[in-house]
């Protein structure tokens, strides 16, 4: 999908403590087939930042994702892609 994780509303929070980043995130569905891929991408990208040594990912299901979590940019990108949101 042509939309980033933040605009899709998947990222619930992010804290940085020294070299450690904690990201809490959710997925659009519990059976999201891309969840492992997404977490791998996040980990790889954050570890590429200077000074980051450890990435913790916390998958959150409450509150669950709904389309209301899309940012206006995300909404527009999905519409342009042909999804009705």
């Amino acid at each position: 999908m042509p939309v980033n994780l933040v605009d899709l509303g998947l990222i619930y929070g992010l804290t940085v403590d020294g070299g450690r980043v904690c990201v809490s995130l959710t997925f659009t569905a519990m059976g999201c087939p891309a969840s492992e891929m997404i977490m791998g991408d996040i980990r790889e990208r954050l570890l590429a930042e200077p000074g980051i040594e450890d990435v913790r990912l916390d998958v959150v299901w409450d509150p669950p994702w709904t389309s209301a979590r899309l940012t206006s940019d995300g909404r527009e990108a999905l519409r342009a892609w042909g999804l009705s949101v």
Binding site: M1, P33, S35, E36, M37, G40, G82
Partner: protein, 308 residues
């Protein structure tokens, strides 16, 4: 309906316009279009059971879900092609369930069973990348409107499949040791089979009606080169120094197998575009789709009932 005359069709194609209905087609165009759709539908369909055998070996529940999601996509892609064939007057039911398994048309690669998760992800990186090139060409250059539009989402989904292949290949390669050797063996035997996927070299192919009718835009060699350049650049399988595996198959052998250990040797031949009689797909997978006599048939939705 009176078929269009070839002059009108030729002019339409020259103007770069799209064919939208059978009334604009000549019988020749219709035949070529149907053939191209059939190869596409059969290839997507056969990939589902082929991938399923390997997806069962997924290393985690999440990986299994990814495998199953890819298989579901492939069935949907097959359905798009068969559905268009139905609109062109063929019976989807007959195409899928009543055909002789040996009549299915798909690349030879699918006759060689995928036996591990590693082999599945290399197939995602190579076969799905090949599908991505071939369908991308039809999506970009194809002259038949309904198919061109149907491919928009197919392309997005194929992108997911090949990314799964690339990500996992990288991960397995970085793990090193036996995992990486298994990855290398998979690359070694799948590479020549995917090269074969694109058909005869241009210099052996006299003439392409598919190109005349703009059912595709690029020649076999152009598509093969595109596959080589997109599939094996930085992300997926370049050099050993980048921590991934090498392509050793540059010199293609007509019966490769030395590197694949105890595996049944693929009998590779550049022209075998259909199931060989002894192939596993033809004998095991396809009959599984066929209805046993006496099995209950579900009532079909009528066209007006608002079926999805």
């Amino acid at each position: 309906m009176e078929p269009a005359n070839s002059g009108a069709l030729e002019a339409l194609l020259k103007r770069g316009e799209l064919v939208e209905s059978t009334s604009e087609m000549t019988p020749d165009y219709l035949r070529e279009l149907k053939h191209t759709l059939l190869v596409s539908g059969d290839t997507e369909l056969i990939s589902a059971p082929a991938y399923y055998l390997a997806a069962r070996k997924a290393p985690s529940v999440n990986a299994f879900m990814t495998g199953i999601a890819i298989i579901q996509d492939e069935l949907a892609h097959a359905h798009i092609a068969y559905h268009i064939l139905e609109e062109l007057g063929e019976s989807q039911e007959a195409l899928i369930f009543k055909r002789d398994p040996k009549a299915f048309r798909y690349p030879y690669a699918f006759d060689v069973p995928l036996e591990s998760w590693t082999e599945l992800v290399v197939a995602n990186a190579m076969y799905d990348q090949a599908g991505f090139c071939l369908l991308g060409d039809i999506h970009e250059h194809g002259s038949y409107g309904p198919w061109k539009r149907g491919l928009v989402k197919v392309m997005a989904e194929e992108n997911f499949h090949l990314r799964n292949g690339r990500n996992w290949s990288k991960r397995i390669s970085q793990a090193g040791g036996e995992a990486r050797e298994e990855l290398q063996r998979a690359v070694d035997w799948m590479f020549p089979l995917t090269v074969e996927w694109f058909g005869l070299p241009d210099n052996l192919k006299q003439h392409s009606t598919q190109l005349d009718y703009r059912l595709k835009g690029l020649t076999n060699d152009q598509l093969r080169q595109q596959w080589l350049s997109t599939g094996f650049r930085a992300h997926s399988m370049p050099t050993r120094s980048a921590g991934t595996s090498t392509i050793r198959a540059a010199g293609m052998r007509s019966s490769s197998g030395g590197a694949s250990g105890g595996r049944a040797t693929p009998r590779w031949s550049p022209s075998s575009r259909r199931a060989s009689p002894s192939s596993r797909c033809a004998h095991e997978f396809l009959p599984a789709f066929s209805r046993r006599s006496g099995a209950p048939r579900l009532p079909a939705f009528s066209r007006r009932s608002g079926a999805p």
